[in-house]
């Protein structure tokens, strides 16, 4: 939520600086004072302020939607002032994105800054140029997302100042074409650099995706309908060794997914970092035999998918966050699941997910298991329990085994337990061999 609050503040400042000169139709090449964003005595080009505003606002606007999906519908709705601000920004954005003069200026800037400086990378050495490569990928992702987002396509409704719009009120056609080219070029360059910087680059891209909640299962993560002519033709440079079960990915021996086709309707950042996503067949293979149906299967799948993308530490931090409510698009894939520890107790469900880290403090395994046992007494409807941990030893369950066996042997609805241990790197889980029905 802090990111959204900071984003709101930034967007509000930019809107305050940009709105007056835009409405008074100052030439885009003029320099203006951006008092709210930069202070009293600092000038900035009006066209650059407009570009900066559009990208910042679009980041914030789309993050709000993903935040609600990822964490779940908040108890307190998002501030109404944000809704108002968002609406005002959208009106301004619609106007800016149909201005042909602005399109020309911004596309000239992107032409200069958007392509990776391969000579620089070669001279500096791929590893040392990692930051530059990462920044370029991110910036091009933002540009691509802005211009290929679902809200920005199509002609604008008739508004004041329409004489400044493009012939059909189309969204910045030059920049759209350029963003498409930059996207292709970025992906091609990343593939060339993969061997030298792939591992480090993917680490930073994974961090960026988590910071912006660009999860593979969420809508509006860079996969959009693309009306660019080349995209409509479905160009691609297919690689991989066959169709996966979802028709997109093929399986690899290491459980990672490759794209058989190069879907043109994704930004290079998303396409390049899709290797972080583990395949559905890999997940199924890991937990086959455990919870096979219904909500339990869905939740298990989502938990493993989420941890593969963001890592166990981030998963624990987010799922135990005060903002976390659960939901079908959240980290646990359902509203019908209890999470321990979490400040929101909520009604009892048949499924419980418990996360632990280490063996000390409130989030340590011993304390979490005590909370699980209390929950099972309070919520007798519980039928399935998934416990996640980052370490294991033969005596881990000594304190709890009596209670667990009793719940496991319940005649009026036995409870089934699944213990999952985090592996190396901390993005993979595997079941721990625990048989509560076996004699010692």
């Amino acid at each position: 939520m802090r990111t959204l609050r900071e984003g709101a503040k930034q967007v509000q400042q930019l809107h305050k600086d940009l709105h007056p000169p835009t409405m008074s139709r100052r030439p885009w090449k003029d320099n203006v004072f951006a008092r709210h964003s930069l202070g009293d005595d600092v000038e900035v080009e009006l066209w650059y302020l407009a570009e900066h505003f559009l990208l910042a606002w679009h980041d914030w606007h789309t993050l709000q939607g993903r935040f609600i999906q990822y964490f779940g519908e908040p108890e307190q709705p998002l501030p109404t002032s944000w809704r108002r601000l968002d609406g005002e920004c959208k009106v301004l954005a619609n106007r800016l994105l149909r201005d042909t003069n602005l399109d020309e200026l911004v596309s000239a800037s992107w032409e200069q800054t958007g392509f990776m400086d391969r000579e620089f990378i070669h001279r500096a050495g791929s590893k040392l140029a990692l930051r530059e490569v990462y920044q370029n990928i991110v910036q091009n992702h933002r540009r691509w997302s802005l211009l290929h987002g679902e809200w920005s396509t199509g002609p604008a409704p008739a508004t004041e100042g329409a004489e400044q719009a493009g012939p059909l009120g189309e969204t910045w056609p030059r920049c759209r074409d350029l963003a498409f080219r930059l996207n292709q070029e970025t992906f091609a360059t990343c593939q060339v650099l993969m061997e030298a910087v792939g591992r480090d680059l993917l680490f930073h891209l994974r961090c960026y995706r988590h910071a912006n909640l660009l999860m593979s299962w969420l809508s509006n993560n860079g996969i959009v309908e693309d009306r660019h002519p080349a995209a409509m033709e479905g160009s691609g440079d297919g690689h991989g060794d066959g169709q996966g079960e979802d028709g997109i990915g093929g399986g690899r021996g290491d459980g990672l997914r490759e794209f058989v086709r190069m879907p043109p309707h994704q930004s290079a950042l998303i396409r390049f970092s899709e290797g972080l996503v583990i395949s559905t067949s890999s997940i199924s293979g890991t937990v086959d035999g455990y919870f096979r149906e219904g909500i339990a299967k869905r939740v298990l799948h989502r938990v493993m998918e989420a941890i593969a993308e963001i890592g166990y530490d981030n998963f624990v931090a987010d799922v135990t966050d005060a903002d976390f409510q659960g939901g079908p698009e959240s980290l646990v894939g359902s509203s019908d699941v209890n999470v321990i520890p979490n400040p929101h107790r909520g009604p009892c469900h048949e499924l419980l997910v418990a996360v632990s880290k280490g063996d000390k403090k409130g989030i340590g395994f011993p304390n979490v298991m005590r909370l699980v046992r209390e929950h099972l007494i309070r919520c007798s409807v519980t039928q399935r329990v998934i416990v996640l941990c980052d370490h294991w030893g033969p005596n881990m369950l000594d304190e709890h085994i009596g209670d667990l066996r009793a719940h496991h042997a319940r005649v009026d609805g036995p409870v089934r337990f699944l213990f999952l241990l985090v592996g190396t790197p901390a993005r993979f889980l595997s079941p721990v061999a625990v048989d509560l029905g076996a004699t010692p």
């Binding site: 600092v42 080009e45 650059y48 302020l49 000579e119 040392l128 961090c207 960026y208 910071a211």
Partner: protein, 142 residues
């Protein structure tokens, strides 16, 4: 009290700036084609601290090792010269010119001071989100 350079560290970083990034600081100081001296580098880094519009703290990631450095303080001026000191702000760690993914260009070609500041803030945000710097605490300007 202004930060100071350890003599060996100064020599090492001065060498980097005049070899790997040769011509960059010389352009900022308008002394091309001759090479910048250690004294000029030292003075320019002190100016970056004295005239900084932006200041923040954080732990930067060392690309080569993959480890995070100790927390440091970052100062950035309107030419986008970045000076980094220890947390007590008494010793320089390094000083360089921010190029935004490209070879060196004159700051003025990037545009107005306002554009440079907005770009820098934006790039800092990317770095933070991407784990290139962590535990960022913004002090002023950024």
């Amino acid at each position: 009290m202004a930060p100071k350079w350890d003599p060996r560290n100064l020599t090492r970083h001065h060498r980097k700036r005049t070899t790997r990034d040769g011509g960059c600081f010389e352009d900022l100081l308008r002394i091309n084609p001759r090479a910048m001296t250690e004294l000029e580098y030292e003075e320019r880094s002190e100016q970056a601290v004295a005239n900084a519009w932006g200041q923040y703290r954080g732990e930067g990631r060392d690309i080569a090792s993959g480890e995070y450095n100790d927390e440091a303080v970052y100062f950035v001026d309107d030419d986008l010269v970045v000076a980094i000191t220890d947390v007590s702000e008494s010793d320089f760690i390094t000083c360089f010119h921010e190029h935004f993914s490209r070879q060196h260009v004159r700051p003025a070609t990037i545009g107005t001071v306002g554009q440079r500041r907005l770009r820098y803030k934006e790039h800092l945000q990317f770095d933070e989100q991407g784990g290139l710097i962590r535990k960022v605490r913004r002090i002023r300007g950024v």
